[in-house]
């Protein structure tokens, strides 16, 4: 961070902005958060609530031979306990997304008969205070019969490998062969075949500063649970929990307000939520569960660890990329909590940014005795795009070509857009070469040769690297059928309601569960534009509540989609409301047609006679409280609910062909690193990030996402890793050993943006926020450039760089 740490280079937008959309309106969420008045889940209290503490497994793999909770339950102030056997009696195993063999595993919300990773919840204890719950948990007696553990995915399928799930008859969870184009022809045409034996993408996640949690109440009279939580995808939690608990979804009310970061890591808390629900009913009192940092690191939502093996790349001598073959081996950890969706999500961005047409990827996912993986910012695409970017730089090195030129030669061109990829995804818009030029300009690429020489004189190694990602957003959930053809999911949706209340308040309700993305602000911008009113007149409700009926099956905040699904729903509902206001005013004015009316100044008026003005307050009052005498056929409620449904087809299961997401935002990052060759210590000394997410409703919020994702990438590539020893003990179970970058660790950053509006979305927007993986790719490339050694791992702490230089 230097004095001018942030340089924004924003070219003139493609279309002239009017109104609020496109402006960096200051966030409306901020005031409460700045005053300590946000409501995060651990802030919620209820009379008589009991605090829940989990007894967790100290073993990576063991049979449970005995559980005795009597000593814990005997403690004064302990309300009760829950064991796996009780869970199994009360619930069904969670529904499995996978086809066989993964489909056969039986996943309950507490360990049953066996533990499969260190930190797995075994027993839940509830007591009057947090401290007492933990004290009592130490009195729970659990006898274990330790088993050998499998920690390295590459050995999970060995003949003598310990098997996690007997029901699956081995550690293979899911496998699928993806093959598009004509591989044989591509390799025949190639001048060179570059072989890359093994690349490894490491395990980490985004460690939101707030860990998971819930406060769950059970209403005995109506047999309904209210789940105050920070789960970021209640739609998914409901689908998992309802069938397992054998109740209809109306019995599960999900409420969120402020969420302390999510990044995908707060999608799969459904097992813990089920435990809270069962205990709220069993003990007849509200149950409070707060996950502590060590619990989170041990057990929650690690990002997918992936190996790419036996990669072969078909290239021409001039750097033209024809295609590749690789085997992806994905480490799911002990349970499939969202997996094996990672086995298809990567295919949203199969060719990366490049025009190669012949691609074969043999995907295998295995279980290991480690924490279950779940979505993490950049979910599954990040791993694949790191691989493709590594391939580009390795090819450039092998062919002795400039990585810039290899990229430019092979980029999908602006004029090719919309571009259908080999597997049927349709990249909506973009200009990658222009983004690269802009990023190189921001970093002053022309000065690099001089800087490298200067660094060398100081005994340092300077390198520059490029990394790009595509942040594919708005999932077509039909892609789940490529994992399991039996699944009955497809498309996507999101809901918003916009109403005009009695005193003219414009009240907006979202289906989403924001965790810092500023939805209350950007939604208000969209509404105010359509209703041509002041921003202050729009009230966007904070948080999500499934009682509001403002949600659908895919509601939540995940997978880069709010700018498309959320805001399109807001747009649709607001346009419905606008049309109703026109109808109402037309009737009130005595049959004035809509085209003679206009919205202005917080109301509606006759264009030719502005004195004939009906303020929104009057509209709201008439419909809600003063409606006698209105025409019988006036179909107006001023309470409009709109479900946005993106245009998708179900992908072809046989050929694995189809458009898997609606938008494809792009990120292009360039990093400059300076390495101390004696120690391997290095710093990022310059950094540029260029983003293209189509039309930006609030550029400052977009830039904030770019910055945050960049910082996470920097942390991941240098420091952050969930590394296990051979017995399955996590070596980085807290922020002491899992170093998260702090203010002194941040390099100078220049940001830039271009806007290629999406032709497929109502507002020209694209989902964004998950593009930070570009930073991992860029730093890996920069290290390779500085050292001259091929980088084969996404995690490059100082020790690894030192080893590379030996």
């Amino acid at each position: 961070m230097t004095e001018d740490s942030t340089t924004t280079v924003a070219p003139a937008p493609v279309e002239v902005q009017k109104g609020w959309a496109g402006q960096s309106v200051k966030r409306r969420e901020d005031k409460r958060l700045l005053q300590g008045e946000g409501v995060f889940v651990d802030d919620i209290k209820r009379h008589g609530m009991g605090y829940l503490h989990f007894v967790r497994s100290p073993y990576a793999h063991a049979h449970i031979t005995r559980i005795d909770v009597s000593a814990a339950e005997a403690v004064d102030g302990v309300y009760g306990t829950l064991t796996g056997e009780e869970v199994a009696a009360l619930t069904d195993p969670f529904f499995q997304i996978s086809s066989a063999p993964g489909a056969n595993i039986k996943d309950y919300s507490l360990a049953l008969g066996k533990v499969r990773f260190v930190g797995e919840p075994v027993v839940a204890v509830v007591a009057e205070t947090r401290e007492l719950a933990r004290d009592a948990s130490e009195l729970v007696e659990v006898d274990y019969e330790p088993l050998a553990a499998v920690v390295d995915a590459r050995h999970a399928q060995d003949a003598d490998a310990p098997v996690l799930h007997d029901d699956a008859e081995g550690n293979l969870m899911w496998t699928g062969l993806y093959s598009w184009g004509d591989l044989d022809a591509a390799f025949a045409e190639a001048d060179r075949v570059i072989e890359i034996p093994e690349l490894h993408f490491h395990r980490f996640n985004s460690t939101p500063l707030e860990c998971d949690g819930a406060l769950v109440e059970f209403n005995r009279g109506v047999e309904q649970w209210t789940i105050h939580t920070n789960n970021q995808f209640p739609g998914f939690a409901a689908i998992m929990m309802g069938p397992a608990m054998k109740v209809g979804l109306d019995k599960l009310r999900f409420v969120t307000q402020d969420i302390g970061g999510g990044f995908g890591n707060k999608i799969t808390s459904h097992p813990q939520l089920v435990v809270c629900c069962l205990l709220a009913r069993k003990l007849n009192r509200p149950i409070q569960w707060t996950e502590w940092r060590t619990d989170f690191h041990l057990s929650m939502s690690h990002g997918n660890e992936r190996w790419f093996r036996d990669t072969k790349v078909a290239v021409k001598d001039d750097g033209t990329l024809l295609g590749f073959r690789t085997k992806a081996l994905d480490d799911a950890g002990a349970w499939l909590r969202y997996e094996p969706l990672g086995g298809v999500i990567w295919a949203q961005v199969t060719p990366g940014m490049y025009r190669w047409r012949h691609i074969e990827l043999d995907f295998t996912q295995v279980a290991t005795n480690k924490a279950p993986v779940s979505p993490n910012r950049g979910y599954s695409r990040m791993q694949h795009l790191w691989f493709t970017e590594r391939v580009i730089d390795i090819v450039a090195k092998e062919l002795d070509l400039d990585p810039v030129e290899v990229r430019k030669k092979n980029y999908i061109r602006a004029e090719d857009m919309p571009y259908e990829t080999p597997n049927g995804c349709v990249y909506d818009s973009g200009d990658y070469a222009r983004m690269l030029d802009l990023a190189l300009e921001l970093i002053d690429y022309d000065a690099m040769a001089g800087r490298k020489a200067a660094a060398k004189e100081q005994g340092k190694l300077l390198g520059v690297g490029i990394g790009s990602t595509l942040d594919s957003g708005t999932n077509n959930f039909g892609q789940s059928r490529l994992i399991n053809p039996e699944l009955q999911f497809s498309g996507n949706n999101e809901v918003a309601t916009v109403k005009l209340d009695i005193f003219g308040e414009i009240v907006v309700t979202l289906g989403t569960t924001p965790q810092g993305q500023g939805h209350e602000t950007t939604a208000a911008q969209v509404v105010a534009d359509i209703l041509n009113c002041a921003l202050e007149d729009v009230h966007v409700r904070a948080g999500h509540d499934s009682y509001w009926n403002s949600h659908a099956g895919f509601s939540g905040t995940y997978a880069s989609q709010f700018a498309v699904t959320g805001l399109s729903a807001v747009k649709g509902a607001t346009e419905m409301l606008r049309d109703e206001i026109f109808k109402l005013a037309g009737a009130v004015f005595g049959g004035v047609p809509a085209e003679a009316l206009e919205l202005a100044d917080g109301g509606i008026r006759i264009k030719e006679n502005p004195d004939a003005f009906l303020p929104f307050m009057a509209c709201g009052a008439i419909i809600n409280a003063n409606n006698a005498g209105l025409p019988e056929d006036l179909d107006v409620t001023l309470n409009c609910r709109y479900v946005y449904r993106p245009p998708f087809e179900v992908p072809d299961v046989e050929t694995k062909f189809g458009n898997l997401t609606l938008t494809y935002a792009a990120q292009l990052h360039v990093a400059v690193v300076e390495i101390d060759p004696e120690t391997g210590y290095y710093e990022i000394v310059d950094y540029a990030a260029v983003d293209d997410c189509g039309k930006r409703i609030n550029p400052q919020i977009v830039e904030g996402q770019v910055m945050g994702a960049t910082a996470q990438a920097i942390g991941a590539v240098i420091h952050e890793t969930y590394e296990y020893d051979e017995d399955g003990n996590l070596l980085t179970p807290n922020f002491y050993d899992y170093h998260v970058p702090h203010a002194l660790d941040m390099p100078p950053l220049a940001t830039g943006a271009i806007e290629s509006p999406s032709p497929f979305t109502p507002l020209g927007t694209k989902g964004m926020g998950e593009g930070g993986g570009a930073g991992i790719h860029a730093v890996c490339a920069a290290i390779q450039d500085a050292t001259g050694v091929v980088v084969t791992d996404s995690h490059n702490p100082y020790r690894r760089v030192w080893e590379m230089l030996r």
Partner: protein, 264 residues
Amino acid sequence: MLLREVEYAKPGSVAQALELLAANDGARALAGGQTLINVMKARAASPDMLVDLNGLAELRGIELAADGTLTIGAMTTYTELMRSAEAKARPILGEVCATIADVQVRNRGTIGGNVCANDPTNHLPPLMVAVGARMTIAGAAGEREVTAEEFFLGVYMTAVGQGELLTKIAIPAGKKDGFAAVTLGTEGTCICNAAATVNGSVRVALGCVDAVPVLVTADSPDGIAEAVRAAGIEPPSDVHASAEYRLHLAAVLATRAAQEAAAR
């Protein structure tokens, strides 16, 4: 979070503190708490009683004697050391303290707590050894003084016995000191560190490579790397560094610290 039950005592004098510590086998002195409280959160340590030394004025303060010796009360915080005019007599003290953890930790954490914890990754144990500090330990039988080399006995173990307290640290005059470290991130936890002082010959104490600081000497900075390699050090391996990497760093950092010291 969520410590085990513990008793709390706030003595009014060092004598009272010593009585409390002597009377309770399970009692531990609570200094800044920036290590101990965290260990207690993990329930890795669960003393029966905490004897809070905060508020004991006799354990605070920095005095500069005519011969240049600094006497630093054990409960002096890092921030106080950084800001003290007297402590500038040995500049390395404030410089190193300024790189320990962060502002909040430096405001509470103490020099006595740092050395008594003797976590092998701490900054001050090697620095104390390098500068030739002398530690005063008080107990029922009165005070005794040990050298820093004698003070550090093992991981989390020092010469301070049950019922005793480290009360002050004396640091002789000197300016030609250096400190070098490779840390997790900028100014983070040490992966390997080296503190050096030059006074005729070169004296380097290495941290993170053994249970206690390893002292290595040489005639000049040029010879220190070889001395490190000849010292028979067998560093631990962990998630941050292999033994081999630590040993390599030890030689590099020892040289850098020695060069810095010599250049002053």
